[in-house]
């Protein structure tokens, strides 16, 4: 069965460019999460969707970061005017239902390098 997929797998951007990262969750999964993982660190929460509703965006580091999930399936994380400190792996995860203890299935991540 298909897991969570993310594209592109690698992205090199020049400082100041806008980037868009895509996440295809497991079909039928209600919850979708974005995490940012810096080199050598654990992932850090960015934002959470339940269907198309963005219920928590407390982890977005600045207003340059924007996420959407307009039809409750595919999600896009957009970073405007990228900075070098945005270099990281961006992980997407989905779970069948919302709620504590639900298994989150992670995609392979998009590795972003900002030069």
């Amino acid at each position: 069965g298909a897991g969570v997929s993310q594209s592109p797998r690698y992205k090199v951007a020049k400082r100041g460019q806008d980037v868009a990262l895509r996440c295809d969750p497991i079909s039928g999964h209600v919850s979708l999460f974005w995490y940012q993982q810096a080199l050598g660190q654990g992932p850090e929460f960015l934002t959470y969707f339940q269907n198309e509703a963005q219920l928590d965006k407390s982890g977005l580091p600045s207003d340059r970061f924007f996420a959407e999930r307009p039809e409750g399936s595919v999600s896009t994380l957009k970073i405007q005017r990228t900075q070098q400190e945005d270099s990281a792996v961006y992980l997407c995860a989905s779970s069948l239902f919302p709620g504590v203890g639900e298994t989150q299935y992670f995609g392979p991540g998009t590795r972003l390098l900002v030069l």
């Binding site: 050598g40 654990g42 992932p43 929460f45 928590d56 995860a93 504590v100 298994t103 995609g107």
Partner: protein, 112 residues
């Protein structure tokens, strides 16, 4: 800000040795999960513990959740090269839906 501290950060051991990884926090978690992540991949769930004092065994891996639900440990018996990877604990705080707070990670290398 990482609320979960893991120790040790790095561990290099030989095949057959035992090891324990610790995950500590000042926060109470309604559940705690352990993941393993390999290079170029996303984290993969190993286990979820939800009850204070709970112990779960998964083959050679033993997971324990502290009585106060603030800490956890992962013990591996007779480590194998296939156990190599980044081990992450992650907690779900009460009232935050399923948002996870990840630990700082423990990188394990098991050599022949």
């Amino acid at each position: 800000t990482q609320l979960l501290e893991q120790s040790p950060q790095f561990l290099s051991i030989q095949e057959g040795e035992n090891l324990t990884v610790y995950c500590n926090s000042s926060s109470v978690f309604s559940s705690l999960q352990w993941y393993r992540q390999e290079p170029g991949e996303g984290p993969v769930l190993l286990v979820t513990v939800v009850t204070g004092g709970e112990v779960k065994k998964l083959k050679r891996l033993t997971f324990q959740f502290g009585d106060a639900r603030k800490d956890s440990s992962l013990h591996i018996t007779a480590a194998q090269p296939g156990d190599t990877g980044l081990y992450l604990c992650a907690g779900a705080e009460t009232g935050t839906a399923s948002k996870l707070t990840f630990g700082t990670g423990t990188r394990l290398q098991v050599t022949l």
